[in-house]
């Protein structure tokens, strides 16, 4: 049994222009100790997916369908008190802005200690000692003094380390990290990523890593799901996704990046147009207006997420939502080398 099983999740926002499904029929699983990457452009529904998992959505949103199972328990059926026990204890979350998780008027160590006291019932003294251990583990210099510091006295990178320490404090089974390094400098990002990688594998914690940066997921995850317009449009192992992407949107994303590991190109290859406005409720493939491979059917009806043709893929479990590259599509046989069909 997978640790986390999300099926057909649909999360809607209701506003003055009606109801919009920000996440629409999203299904995926995460195994124990596995790192899954969720990538896609701004507004594609990555954060709403993450927030739905822990039922941390804003008031204007509601989960309109689907199920979320953690260790077999349906999280959507739990009461408010029960879900609160799961948060932090079994599933922890790391946000882009560490200040989302930190209380500005309480010493950082006290905040983690309170978690330990409340969720693991440690004594005040034991909790403090454990906090110092945790701070040391996440590489905070002089943890015995930093434990009493306030968030504003720390740099952005150090704050994110504190948040990681907090997330690890109750030894959760799953950590959801939503753009944990997007606000940080590259050298600090490298520190934090290598820390997350080492800790997650040492402790056997499963990880959902959300980012728009394909470079970040390449080195951090075993599998990747690509999202577009509230839907998952491609699922594959990390190796397979980069070696053999099957969805035109993924091709476009990979091609539009200037890369340090490739010779410099004279010109970049952008994806024309802009990400979809979910309120439009288009009938067809959500990528259709921007896709260079579209045919008539693409605008008329939406393709399902299906297994890519066996002979085009190297590893099983590679799924794609595209009329052209599904088994009987017009690009079913296209062989791709690193996203250059």
């Amino acid at each position: 049994m997978a640790l986390l099983e999300v099926s057909d999740l649909r999360t809607e926002f209701t506003g003055k222009n009606g109801t919009v499904a920000a996440v629409d029929g999203v299904s995926f699983t995460v195994s124990r100790g596995e790192a899954l990457g969720l990538v896609g452009e701004s507004g594609c529904g990555k954060s709403v997916t993450a927030l739905s998992l822990l039922r941390l959505l804003p008031a204007s949103a509601r989960i309109a369908g689907g199920s979320i199972r953690l260790d077999g328990r349906d999280l959507l059926a739990l009461g408010e008190r029960e879900i609160r026990r799961i948060r932090g204890r079994e599933v922890a979350m790391i946000f882009q802005d560490p200040m989302t998780s930190l209380n500005p008027i309480m010493p950082v160590g006290r905040q983690i200690a309170e978690l330990l006291e409340c969720k693991l019932h440690l004594s005040r003294r034991r909790a403090r000692l454990r906090v110092i251990e945790l701070l040391e583990m996440v590489g905070i210099p002089s943890p015995t003094t930093r434990v009493d510091a306030f968030a504003h006295q720390l740099s952005g990178g150090m704050r994110q380390r504190i948040v990681i320490a907090m997330a690890l404090s109750c030894q959760p089974k799953l950590i959801i990290a939503d753009e944990p390094t997007t606000a940080l400098d590259v050298t600090i990002q490298a520190q934090i990523l290598s820390l997350l990688r080492a800790l997650a594998s040492d402790l056997g914690t499963a990880l959902i890593l959300i980012t728009h940066d394909l470079g970040v997921v390449a080195g951090m995850t075993q599998r990747i799901h690509v999202m577009y317009g509230g839907r998952i449009v491609e699922k594959a192992t990390t190796q397979e996704l980069f070696a053999n992407p099957r969805m035109p949107y993924t091709w476009g994303l990979l091609r539009s990046l200037p890369r340090l590991d490739h010779p410099r190109a004279d010109r970049l290859t952008p994806i024309d147009g802009a990400p979809p406005d979910l309120a439009d409720g288009a009938a067809g493939c959500r990528f259709e207006p921007r896709c260079g491979h579209r045919q008539e059917i693409c605008g008329a009806s939406e393709p399902g997420l299906v297994s890519a043709p066996r002979h085009t893929i190297a590893e099983d479990g590679h799924e794609v939502r595209c009329w052209a590259t599904q088994p009987d599509g017009w690009l079913a046989d296209a062989t791709t080398t690193a996203g250059q069909p």
């Binding site: 952005g156 050298t187 390449a218 970049l268």
Partner: protein, 345 residues
């Protein structure tokens, strides 16, 4: 605190004198921000040394990339060059004339020649003005085009940046982020500048949109011979757009070289660490890549470390690094580095 002597500055190679004088020549630029305290007797207690002795040049039609970590002084440098900031010391020559102390009308004339594009296309556009008004405004401010000819010029500018001229009466919020950035670019182009200081022009945009804007800037450069000071933290984008690249650390340039040279043979440990920190979108490469993980954080620009400012995070640092500030010297042709132990082989 001059780190480079007057006769050897990284404006051009000492060996091959530049055939043309640079369009912009920055020498020992300093921009310090006072930190004040006191209620009755307001007085300066310290200074943020945001930019602390920079020298570089920018030639006509050239793109100079400026990279470095948050707070190292990239924006302040850009703002000083566009004269949105008054330098504390040093000179900025535009076509030979020092513009660092100008005021009033003369300053306005300079501002026309050096335009700025900002990171946040949302914040830099007045939400109550239409696109036509926004792009037409600089034409009026600088009295460039007679009022009745303005609509024609505005339409032309919108077409240049890839926007539909029919959208003149729409407002910024009706456009996507990438389109808003195009509006900002059209505004900058309106006054026919010679230099554009682009401060993180694509950082706020989606990955798939970034490439559109990068290509647009390349087209404009080719069409109008514009020079760019291109500020960004994405090292792959900077390699793509720049002819030369300057790497900053805590208010100083630590390395400055031709693009290919810098990316293939970085000499400064900080540049090496910066390049190795960039994650590569290829899991096979990522698995085998050697990474330099720097320890610690960037020190405060209010009290930078003595000697070499990078020494607190540098794995090569020796005693001399704390005592003597390494000057920016030309170690290879057109390749300038400020380090006591540069990686010369």
């Amino acid at each position: 605190m001059t780190q480079t002597s007057a006769h050897a500055t990284p404006h051009s190679s000492a060996a091959t004198p530049a055939p043309q004088p640079p369009l912009i020549e920055v020498t020992d630029l300093q921009v310090h921000f006072p930190v004040r305290a006191g209620i009755l007797f307001d007085h300066q207690v310290a200074a943020v040394r945001a930019v602390d002795g920079l020298s570089f040049s920018l030639h006509r039609g050239e793109v100079l990339g400026l990279v470095g970590e948050s707070g190292c002084g990239k924006s302040t440098t850009g703002r000083a060059v566009a004269r949105l900031e008054r330098p504390t010391a040093g000179s900025i020559r535009l076509d030979g004339t020092d513009i660092s102390r100008l005021r009033g009308t003369e300053l306005r004339r300079v501002r026309r020649r050096v335009q700025m594009i900002f990171q946040d296309p949302f914040a830099s556009l007045n939400p109550r003005m239409t696109i036509g008004q926004l792009v037409g405004e600089p034409l009026g401010v600088h009295r460039l085009v007679a009022k009745d000819e303005r609509p024609v010029r505005v339409a032309e500018l919108l077409r240049t940046v890839g926007l539909d001229p029919a959208s003149v009466s729409r407002y910024p919020h009706e456009f996507s982020g990438g389109q808003r950035q195009r509006i900002g670019i059209a505004r900058a182009l309106a006054v026919e500048p010679e230099v554009i200081v682009a401060d993180e022009p694509i950082s706020a945009l989606d990955v798939s949109i970034q490439a559109q804007v990068v290509n647009l800037l390349a087209d404009l450069r080719a069409a109008y011979g514009l020079a760019f000071l291109f500020i960004a933290h994405d090292l792959a984008v900077v390699r793509h757009v720049s002819d030369r690249v300057a790497v900053m650390y805590l208010g100083k340039i630590v390395e400055l070289a031709d693009r290919d040279d810098l990316y293939a043979h970085a000499l400064h440990p900080y540049t090496q660490a910066l390049l190795s920190a960039v994650p590569v979108p290829d899991p096979v490469v990522e698995q085998h890549r050697e990474q330099i993980i720097l320890h610690g954080d960037v020190p405060s620009p209010m009290s930078p470390p003595s000697g070499c400012r990078f020494r607190t995070r540098c794995w090569k640092a020796q005693e001399v690094c704390a005592e003597v500030e390494p000057p920016l010297v030309e170690l290879a042709t057109r390749h300038w580095t400020a380090c006591h132990f540069p990686d010369v082989t």
